[in-house]
Amino acid sequence: MPKRVIVVGGGLAGLAATIRAAERGIPVDLFSVVPVKRSHSVCAQGGINAAKNLKGEGDHPDIHTNDTLFGGEFLADQPLVQGMCRDAPAIIDLLDRMGVPFNRTAEGNLDFRRFGGTLYNRTAFCGATTGQQLMYALDEQVRRFETLGLVEKYEHWEFLSLVLDNDQKTRGITAMNIWDRSIEVFKANAVILCTGGPGLVFGKSTNSTINTGAAASRAYQQGVWYANGEFIQVHPTPIPGADKLRLISESVRGEGGRIWVPKNKDEKREPQDIPDSDRDYFLERKYPRYGNLVPRDVATREIFNMCVVEGRGIGGKNVVYLDVTPERSGQKPEVLERKLGGVFEIYRRFKGDDPLKVPMQIFPGMHYSMGGLWVGYEDKGDMIVQMTNIPGTFAAGEVDFQYHGANRLGANSLLSCIWGGLESGERAVTWAESDTAEADSSVYGNELKRQVEFADKIEKLDGDENAFKIHDELGEWMTNYCTVVRENDKLDQLSTKIDELEERFHRINLSDTGRSANKTFAFVRALWDMIQLARPIVKGARLRDESRGAHYKTGFDIQKPEADKIGEASDHQGYRDHCAEIAEKWGAKFDLPEKKEEISPEFQEYMDKWVEKERQWNKTTIAVYKPGPDGPDMSYRDVAMTVVPPRPRIYK
């Protein structure tokens, strides 16, 4: 049989994987539930990071690596992050050559803006529709390969499962044609899953409605490890909405947007009439260096606290102001319009106000999953970059767990999608070329039969439960109990709730049994998988008794000493020992500064606790599927640390 690669998903990661694989001359079958050009990646607004250092700031890929690791609280495998950041400038060049209309400086060079979690202007952008522009450029390249006969698209086809042979080796996939509900087997030597994030598991989010996470869940239920599921990024600044939380990009703050609430709780004036003296710019007040551009998890918790704990949201409600009016951001209206027009359009259309005149109103919302399918991190032994624990199954993009650790920095995702996509395409081809074994033909038939039987089961659902209601409840519970602040007793209740929802699933009434473009059927099919995927997320959160990045658990954070008591970690002996152990384990060489000063007793105590917590928890969570309320089986793996030693994450 001639070699073939299957790519599932046509967002940025999937398109990048397809292009690289096709370029190497192996035919690719590309599957997507929507025409690839409509994938969720088009929603990305703000930009893509690369330390091109075109602003004379002395930026460097190694500083980018360091910012990414620090921002993710050292939970990412370091060699991979380093590889990505080092290749980032070349990726921007590639996109530039593809024709992406990046914003330019007067001289015609690429322009860069500042994003959260860094002090450098490192983000290339196309107005406020960067994702769309990158997608279209890649989409056109894929179309070029289509005309060359190297890519075949299966749009409106939904991935249902991997086909695995008796050695658990990947042999292809099964997929359902959404327009007529037929199920077929497709053979391949390697499969790359690029199916994006699981926003719908949380009901309302900033994600597109197609981001169910079902594909990831299906692979997980077949044995692919699900890693770091508990790390869910809640974006600080979406517009609350009944059907969707529409994102207001971090780039608004990158261009000078400022977050505030009135100092007076009972303020009655219109926001534009409130002078600065009566405004509390609380992020600037608490973080004088990073200001409004602290990392997302920090900004989100501050806004959440301001509203939910202190009750100081606007008019007592869960919203705060984001002010990017020319007076407050210090930028000319026409410049703001040129750089942020895409975001303003969304606000004007859906809220009816003009952000150039009136401060926007925003509140945090579920945005991104750092967790995802486990993929390997080095070419040693059985581990291959971007390959999951199932031989021949790869993953890339938001669906993989790599690159962002416990918290993703803004504009790093588009980068990781393209880098991971290209890498996975490359590795999958190499894998396919060396794959000689032929699977027994019964392997395909058996998997097809399993999927047809599952479809039949769903078709026969004629109970009294409403699938959409079950989904609403799942979303509400996940959002309330498993996002910004987590508590163990609430997580236990949530776990019980998931059991209940799973039980009720079997009593759903499928309101449509037709074959033609039956979206209800597809939704119910995916709902099962959403419920299954909720478990590793919740159990991961329940077991992780610490706070790290986006995962914040009440009672399990170490109180930081007052700013003037904070010293250098390298002056703490326990810290030095911890770093030495890591260096030895990974064969790394870390250059710690000489031990200089005595540290305050408060900092000593803080560091003692910090080192203890690191020893226990600086580990990747691995969930292995096991059906029912007891599942999944959880274990922890060491994080590869070869570049920099971890250090306490304190932003000033």
Binding site: H40, V42, R143
Partner: protein, 248 residues
Amino acid sequence: MPEKITVKIKRQDGPGKEPYWQTFEVPYQPNMNVISALMEIRANPVTADGKKTTPPSWDDACLEEVCGSCSMRVNGVARQSCAALVDQLEQPIVLEPFTKFPVVRDLMVDRSSMFEALKRVKAWNPLDGTYDLGPGPKVDPDTQDDMYSYAKCMTCGCCLEVCPQVNENSPFIGAAAIGQTILYNTQPIGKALASERLEAHMGPGGVGDCGNAQNCVRVCPKDIPLTTAIAALGRQLTWHTIKNFFLR
């Protein structure tokens, strides 16, 4: 504030089936849009006269007017339904699928012909490869601005739906692909294929079939300067023809 809104939907159970109309009543919510109304109907598919029915099918994804999925006729106007706010619509809100594309079911249509058109005009840069080949050419901010205005086309199909020249008996390629032709003919690298793109527009179905009715530019949700593109492409074609004539 109304308590309920009325939505009338033109339905069709599958390709080639007879269309029929159904009316639904949906509880009103502030800031509602057409998709959120459809989601209510989907969760409780009962018609205004109390008959249980199947949930209507439609396409959506981004819900913020950037993916191009949710095109339909809303009160007779071709547009993105996710950005059609109920407060700004007359009732009953009448929803119909596009008429210039084959219906898949209910409000879903098959727009794959638009993607085929992009192949025909080779709307891409001819790259040597994805490896590190250095930066692209410098581009002045005005040219970048120009390209950006075309690059936002989301292949939603509104411009084709309203075009009198697009119909069952005509091979006309439509305004969207004309815009993309101009985009890639402006691209510093894309230019290399300019004459191939122009050739693709010679003969039946090309830009010459445009009757200049200008409906397209009026409905485009992304404000693509379509008539500018049509005029520019006309000029480029004229030059191309003259050049060909003298070279022959």
